[in-house]
Symmetry: C2
Subunit: 321 residues, 2 copies
């Protein structure tokens, strides 16, 4: 069945929400549904929509994978609690770090995170919940990129380790599948999400693991988390498309209290871009760059060197991994 | 015996050269002397001084270690030939790269280079030459830093693998030992060295091996050599204290012809400094930074990403290794 795009310009948010709420309620009927909230725009909006349709019969899981930004789990949980949406927080930090141990290849890192999330953690939760309905925040761009071969087609049930032949009756509901990101944001706003949530800048799926070159450990995540907090705090004032801190694996010489200190390097990237397909490094004033370098070397343990990326995309990419 | 500094302000260049020429000639008498020319200011000046004193009885070796900048061996050899100073070029590239194989630690890299140079290459040349007199470009700052414990005291004979007890009669002559670098430059100018030579900016002893993070291979040296040529070509116009290109070991994602390319990163540093003890990154205009990034990613194979260092010294150092 072909999916028909609803352009954001012609989206009637109120009637869209009414229609989707009815559809979800009709499909699930007297049963229950589950979904995973990551804190990103799509999963936040689908959580709100599912809650409106099903109330407490929607079971929402927030999986703490240990590789999120500073304060992120607390922030997301508090926000949804304030909105009256119940969440269950699942502490899976040890499982994720175990799977990442010794893995240095970027592709393998991404796969390890996906595998632990779907097969080990969320798959288990879905089975235990007894729910047969899965709510997913897939949007139209995801579909399009799958067709174009940019993203792989992810069969969610297969990812969950659920074989539809053997375990009959699971159904995936994707209420946002006709919308672009801007449409999803409109729906989020109308559903009462605060702006910090429906207007969040993009953040990679593998979270801070995508910001560590080489093997990911709890110590390295803590270092890049602190650097990310400083960079986001300073650069959120700019109107840049995206900004990030990357922890390098290479070590470089530095000096601390007059003595040689073989330490760490943080790379900062800040992008001007429309759609992430092409990008230019933001011409940040040197005052800002120097302040960032000073903050990071002062506050983040073991960091003796900070660089700013000056390459356009292509041949660079937005993220380093 | 205490060494007495001759301050550059009170240096009488003409009489200094006369005095040192006589001293060298008197010491060597009817014998011969050897020295190693690296192409740096000190060894270039001592070569000119020794040649003035001894003529063809000074045997000067130029050791090509394979880790010099683009065109460097040819440039130095041509220059001294034009000045009428004979040089013997020793191709030791294979020996140096062999010694660097598998060595990733910065200290061990430096030691491998020093060991191959003194023990294997130059020690052998000194013995074969039959000369008992070694001309060395040691200056007053070297002596001072040895006393202060910043540089290790290097016994040149020990470094050459010559035991003065067993192999009697070797003598080291250090005619520049009372001068600071600025004084050495004055002497070089008076001896007829061109300005590109007596005013050369500092360059590290381990040459381009100091600009490669991790193991040094001929391929990596070639990459950082090309990047260095671009960076020096562009930044020599600035009045910066020092500028350099560093090849990282970490690999980062890039895109080439629409496809993912897991490539290399070059880091640029450019310093404002008086004496290298403290330093600030030069506030290079973004036009220059962007041009450098474009040149490097266009011309240097496999490089997909270029960064600019924005950290002051301390806690950074001028070089990364």
């Amino acid at each position: 069945m072909e999916i028909k795009e609803i352009k954001t310009e012609s989206l009637n948010v109120k009637s869209f929400i009414q229609k989707k709420t009815k559809e979800i309620a009709a499909m699930v009927s007297s049963g229950s549904a589950v979904n995973a909230l990551s804190g990103g725009v799509d999963s936040s909006v689908v959580t709100m929509l599912g809650h409106k349709a099903l109330g407490d019969r929607l079971k929402t899981y927030f999986v703490d994978n240990g590789i999120m930004r500073a304060g992120e789990p607390k922030k997301v949980v508090m926000l949804f609690r304030d909105l009256g949406v119940p969440l269950e927080v699942i502490d899976s930090r040890a499982q994720f770090f175990d799977a990442l141990k010794g893995v240095a290849d970027p592709e393998e890192k991404r796969e390890a995170i996906t595998r632990v999330f779907y097969k080990e953690v969320f798959g288990e939760l879905v089975r235990k919940s007894g729910s047969k309905y899965l709510l997913q925040g897939t949007n139209y761009t995801d579909v399009e990129e799958t067709v174009a071969g940019i993203k792989r087609q992810h069969n969610i049930l297969e990812q969950l380790g659920i074989n539809p032949q053997e375990e009959y009756g699971y159904k995936v509901i994707e209420p946002l599948v006709q919308l672009r990101k801007s449409g999803v944001r409109e729906v989020g706003r109308a559903l009462g999400l605060p702006e910090v949530m429906y207007n969040r800048p993009p953040f990679p799926g593998p979270a801070l693991a995508a910001r560590v070159i080489g093997e990911v450990t709890p110590e390295k995540i803590e270092i890049v988390r602190e650097a990310t907090e400083i960079v986001e705090g300073e650069l959120s004032k700019t109107r840049a498309f995206q900004y990030l801190a990357i922890l390098h694996q290479d070590r470089v010489t530095g000096i601390r209290e007059g003595k040689r200190d073989y330490g760490l390097q943080i790379e900062i990237r800040c992008w001007e871009s429309k759609d992430a397909r092409e990008g230019l490094p933001t011409r940040l004033p040197y005052d800002v760059l120097e302040k960032l370098a000073e903050s990071i070397t002062d506050k983040v343990p073991r960091v003796v060197s900070v660089t700013y990326n000056i390459t356009r995309k292509p041949p660079s990419t937005i993220e380093a991994i």
